[in-house]
Symmetry: D2
Subunit: 401 residues, 4 copies
Amino acid sequence: MGESMSPARLWDKGYKVDEAVEEFTVGNDYRLDLNLLKYDCMASIAHAKMLAKIGILTGPECGKIVKELQRIKKLSEERKFPILKGQEDCHTAIENELTRTLGELGKKIHAGRSRNDQVLTALRLYYMDNIRECISLSKSYVQALNFFSSKYGRIRIPGYTHTRKAMPSSVKLWAGAFIDSMLDNIKLLECALALVDQSPLGTGAGYGSPIKYDMEYAATELGFSAVQKNPIYAQLSRGKFESTILHALTQIMFDINRLSTDLIIFSMPEFGYYELPDSFTTGSSMMPQKKNPDVLELLRAKYHVVVALETEVKAISSNLPTGYSRDLQLTKGSIMKGFMVTEQSLKVSALLFRNLKVSKKRCKKAMTKELYATERAHVLVEKGVPFRDAYKRVSRELEGK
Amino acid sequence: MGESMSPARLWDKGYKVDEAVEEFTVGNDYRLDLNLLKYDCMASIAHAKMLAKIGILTGPECGKIVKELQRIKKLSEERKFPILKGQEDCHTAIENELTRTLGELGKKIHAGRSRNDQVLTALRLYYMDNIRECISLSKSYVQALNFFSSKYGRIRIPGYTHTRKAMPSSVKLWAGAFIDSMLDNIKLLECALALVDQSPLGTGAGYGSPIKYDMEYAATELGFSAVQKNPIYAQLSRGKFESTILHALTQIMFDINRLSTDLIIFSMPEFGYYELPDSFTTGSSMMPQKKNPDVLELLRAKYHVVVALETEVKAISSNLPTGYSRDLQLTKGSIMKGFMVTEQSLKVSALLFRNLKVSKKRCKKAMTKELYATERAHVLVEKGVPFRDAYKRVSRELEGK
Amino acid sequence: MGESMSPARLWDKGYKVDEAVEEFTVGNDYRLDLNLLKYDCMASIAHAKMLAKIGILTGPECGKIVKELQRIKKLSEERKFPILKGQEDCHTAIENELTRTLGELGKKIHAGRSRNDQVLTALRLYYMDNIRECISLSKSYVQALNFFSSKYGRIRIPGYTHTRKAMPSSVKLWAGAFIDSMLDNIKLLECALALVDQSPLGTGAGYGSPIKYDMEYAATELGFSAVQKNPIYAQLSRGKFESTILHALTQIMFDINRLSTDLIIFSMPEFGYYELPDSFTTGSSMMPQKKNPDVLELLRAKYHVVVALETEVKAISSNLPTGYSRDLQLTKGSIMKGFMVTEQSLKVSALLFRNLKVSKKRCKKAMTKELYATERAHVLVEKGVPFRDAYKRVSRELEGK
Amino acid sequence: MGESMSPARLWDKGYKVDEAVEEFTVGNDYRLDLNLLKYDCMASIAHAKMLAKIGILTGPECGKIVKELQRIKKLSEERKFPILKGQEDCHTAIENELTRTLGELGKKIHAGRSRNDQVLTALRLYYMDNIRECISLSKSYVQALNFFSSKYGRIRIPGYTHTRKAMPSSVKLWAGAFIDSMLDNIKLLECALALVDQSPLGTGAGYGSPIKYDMEYAATELGFSAVQKNPIYAQLSRGKFESTILHALTQIMFDINRLSTDLIIFSMPEFGYYELPDSFTTGSSMMPQKKNPDVLELLRAKYHVVVALETEVKAISSNLPTGYSRDLQLTKGSIMKGFMVTEQSLKVSALLFRNLKVSKKRCKKAMTKELYATERAHVLVEKGVPFRDAYKRVSRELEGK
């Protein structure tokens, strides 16, 4: 009876868990898991249907469970289904609710699955949704770059190497580089998506389900393209899949890091090639004249945040024997933060290119003669001077010798 | 008038900041800064007193400001002083409140300082408090280890190298290693503390204060041992000091990582040397027999969290020109998380050693003869056999040749 | 004349470079570049043919250059073409040799290209070869796992979660997990290969070639599937492509890390499930009885080496404005080491599975009753007991209540 | 006899080690260990004297061994004592040589010690020497900065925040920041030195020596300030001490990273504040006009190399049970590379400041009026205008409103 009053955890055996330890163990999970409620409902629905298919639930039983799960899913999408700290995670919260409303029937849902494959399934559905969101945001970013390029692309601008004027470039060439790079990043996201798109439902605790689990059926119900048959591999994927996703995210953030670095430097009043939108700058509390490129600086810095998350996941998940260990649960917060930071950064970057201006005047002024030295050398080459000799001749000219 | 209704930011110039960008820019700061309210009040009190000392505030003006700041400080310690998202950080929240209650007088507090040295000062006070807390918790952990060792220290236990039985060891030797190591960690904490214990108040935005700031006076008021005179160095320290603190924290977490690894392995029923307290284990949702060492696994994993934070700070703060850049603000969340994780882990570890048991019986059974091979070889050495020959003889004996 | 005596660098302007600085700048490059000689010859041949095609070289000129480059390529494959420290890199060494043997003609080879696109091209050819080698070695590793599984696969072995006995597993299931995982790793390698398979030849210093470079022709000559048209993107790829390759390598190493961890633990005499081949163990200098799993420990540790290389590349290449910076050159050693470590580890791992033994006897003994608890609970489920109740009943049984 | 022909390893048990595996296992160690020969001789001399003191060696035996070790030490300092690949490491090479020249007597040297404490001891002596070298080089760097500052310090230069002109600064202030920072770095080095300065000799394989080892005597002989009594802690320090040293090195490299970033930007012809010495720039193979700051770019990048080494060591040495594991040996190359890179970078940086020039003319031109806005606001403050109002007034003036 006491059990029905305080939320029961799935593995409760009756002994009292010291409070400090529980605080430490549960950590932030009950909050993070708000993101997973929806996906756990979806996975539980597929699981229930599968149980009906193989005769462990009757049709009507399955119907009741599915209906209830759909109700919870809807609530959770409206952010109206809470997870209490004492419930620890979304899985317990949902199963408790099922038992509360369906009684004995609710207790049947967990047959044939483990929290291990349940977590994996919900996470993969969440990953797939978020990877698709990142692809979509990457495309919006590309559109914004195209918009920017169509407006300012023709302006010639100095091309730098080693942070030194090198050769003539153009805004179009610069924007085009980031477009091409993002299109390749999208391929990496798709590659990660293809990897993750394997259903682990039915692999149980990592050594298979004790019942005749129809993994293909559950996978099809959930829209997975493939089944991850080997249960040990299903568990081994934890950390691996996350790090591959995070790697793809770092590549998006890398582009944003590099373009921010360009913009921070070349929007300095001393250059003035780019003009940042007001909403992307902030003032100083002490120096009245300042317009600081804070947003670009944060965009630059957030690359390192995502890289650190990848490194963290790679470290946490290693030097462990196979089979689930609780260490792996800490990767949940890392990947969620990775998605959050990347999605936000893509949105802000797209907004940036919708509002960024290029100063035709300042760029023109900056197109000084040394930028054309290579061209001059090659005019000599076309006249038959060996390249090395042409190079030396132009070099001497520029030094005024 | 509109300004007094919506909270004004310190650098507000009137243009409208796009909402998505503001969300991105402010981020989590307004929540993190709850930890800093107290310290910013302390620093502002010292600053106000210094302004009075050099004649920019009158005595009564200073008195009013100080009284008001003490009120805010008290409120914040009771968690009753909120920071609104629109206020962005604790500094704006406090200055707004001063202006709200003191009117014109409140506007005078920021003279001679910048948000840059203000942030640095509050952070350092916060760091010093938390380093001291870590030292104190480290000592409690050592006490717990001593308690554990006094209870079980005499029990002989196999010593392993390469995860293979090597030579006889004892619980006392094992616990003693972690005691000695933590005592050395404390030295690292003290080293970090000595580094951080320099007052940056009066260095302004990074190029000195425009008024004749009495840095020594402010430093003394705040209890700093030294003044960090060079304002460019004050800013350059951002990231450096944090990474040195985080490094010290990783060393604490390293010990916890290693001892957890030992305990996870040697509390396996197959060994049974250690018996984990019930509150440190959890069950399985699928496998009724399991008692899993989740808490130890989390302790092991959290080392990597702190290492990742250190790496993150080291990456974020590099490849930047000197002088403050907004990138550096992201290090605030990292160091706060580092302290939080380490302090919590130390508490849980101390609790662990108060409750951990050693099985005399299982240890005794494990003290098998190969552990004594080195001793046997040295008995021969003492009889005059050259070590290499003794080694070969014992080796052959063990292989039954 | 002096120039022909000491090897001239491509960018030599006559001033004397301080020795310590040169030592620092050249570093290890001249040694690393031995790996690139072959690829630079291939790229230079394609470049020469393109120059002939667009009329900058005559047919006979091109013929001589190509013949000479083929001679150098052959020499380099026999490890007979040295790079002197003063030459700095393979590109200078090769061009110097061309000038030495062909005189004026040799000086013509560099027309229309920059060392920047030259380096990128040689590196990409090198990457593609090595990725293919990794794929091939991964397949050999899978074969070895299959061989191992066909020999021992039927043996039942305890499945662990949380380093605790969980459910029955088998050697086949265990080996199968690593087979499936490596097959997915190969997909990551293929994904990296597809990314890298873009020819940058003709992008010059990062802002295009000053001549009408036929990039498609050069790409086709070299067997690239695509042309990387945007020269700024070509440079931006430096660091990006390397980190994506290194990420794929870390995934291979991750598997090896995890399987090594399993084998180190479960080959302990206390378990004895696995028997390591003698050649994979070493002895102790002090303890005559020891057979240490050094090779497995090194395999485990080398994962972290490759992860650190990836992190290093990601840090080095960030916070830089676009356009080549010398920082990026340090990524060369990182990626080369990454390939070397991974290829060697794959070879050693394949060798391991050709020689690893499983002890049927020890495994059988370890299949104790608690492993079957989940099955027992599900027998009750099939009899109609709700899962949660079945779980509790079996749990009580095991605790002897 | 066969043994005397092929070099015998310390733990040789007669079975044949597969070549590929040996290649993998020995790796680079035999080359790295050239750095340790001297220190192992020193440690072995102290060990031999201790053996004599406790009666395991006679006086004359000890004398012969010491004399022989001094000969080997001298040879190794002249780089004339090779380590063969088959010998694996310096310890085997030295013991083999002792046995070769002293016969039976040579075989006695290893009594009471293990390769584990032997390696630790040699490494610590090596670390202490190199930390001292770093301190000395840091002081030379400070001297060079002082020299630079005495020459150019008075020149006023814009102070930047957010890569935007902020307030007036000076070369002296800038150089002074790096001086103060390096003086603090030296404290970190001293802190690391104090940590490392504990003798592990006599801790054997990690569980104490089987003989009555006089650890104090050996420590005093070697000049250690303290004895690390707990043998498990001695082993646990592996990775810990290395990472603390590497952390200190990253702080040195951090300063160099930041100053390089400043110099790369502000030596751009567009600013021209700094003039790099010719020997610190290189040309372009394609663009005749370029003088690229390659050396500064490499200095900037090498920070990330050392950070990666620290991260690597921290990852390698974690998630391991206590007691030596071979994984830890991979930290040897990391720390050696860390010292090498840092020492070289300090040398090059000192050289830089001996030759770097500041353009008085360009700096003067850059001291534009907005730099004085804060001062102007504070003039109003001194006249009694509240700071916030003064701020707004100056802000409006600058915007020309």
